[in-house]
């Protein structure tokens, strides 16, 4: 389970984001992407010293300004569940490699998914 997939799973949960500047943003995460950009709703922003507060309906935070993100503990159980569900769907992707087999010699697909489809295309 990669860190960014944990973040994807945490969508919809309340998170705390601290920026490199020290400000903290508490809110419900609507969306996140591969660059860690985050869209939050119902946000409370606390200044670095903890003395000033702002409330805003939405916030969009650029990923490279983030120091860390705190996520509720129940999200880690949710990730195990999603991994389990994804593994159950896996057997269907074995036949995909045959189309590419001619171009790359089947080597690309053979290692990753089901080996049967990729290797068959080489010239049997």
């Amino acid at each position: 389970m990669l860190p960014l997939s944990l973040l994807k799973t945490a969508q919809g949960h309340a998170v705390l984001v601290e920026l490199k500047t020290g400000e903290t943003y508490n809110g419900h995460m609507v969306m996140c992407d591969t660059w860690m950009n985050i869209h939050l709703r119902e946000v409370i922003c606390t200044s670095k010293d903890g003395d000033r507060f702002w409330r805003m309906p939405e916030a969009y935070i650029r990923g490279n300004t983030i120091k860390y993100i705190r996520v509720p503990d129940e999200v880690i159980d949710k990730v195990q569940e999603e991994n389990f569900r994804r593994d159950e769907k896996r057997p269907a992707s074995g036949g995909r490699g045959r189309g590419r087999g001619g171009a790359f010699g089947g080597r690309g697909e053979g290692g990753r998914g089901g080996p049967e489809g990729g290797r068959g295309g080489r010239g049997v």
Partner: protein
Amino acid sequence: MELLQEPSLPGAALAEELDKKLLIQLRDGRKILGILRSFDQFANLVLEGAIERIIVGEQYGDIPLGLQLIRGENVVLLGEVDPAHEVPRGLTQISEAAIRQAQKAEKELNKLKATLRSRMDFLDLE
């Protein structure tokens, strides 16, 4: 002490630390302890059961943080914690509120020292 095998690539080193309790030092000086659950090519880390340990003088305090995702660029260094030597020797543990107060007091003291020092600068003492 056993001889540890050198990992061939720097990227492989973090995989050996999975599910171990680590101490992470961040660029802002914070020290976070937690169990490493996952990482990626940018060294973004997922820590479970994370706590922040603040040390002021002879006292320290632990602040529970829970599940944390740390962006890799903010990490200075990290290392495995020996469970036998986890609590620093010679330090007493105090409550969260007390350590925060101590930290604030230390920050104020440092700020005061810095202003006094900058006022003395014109004297050009060697």
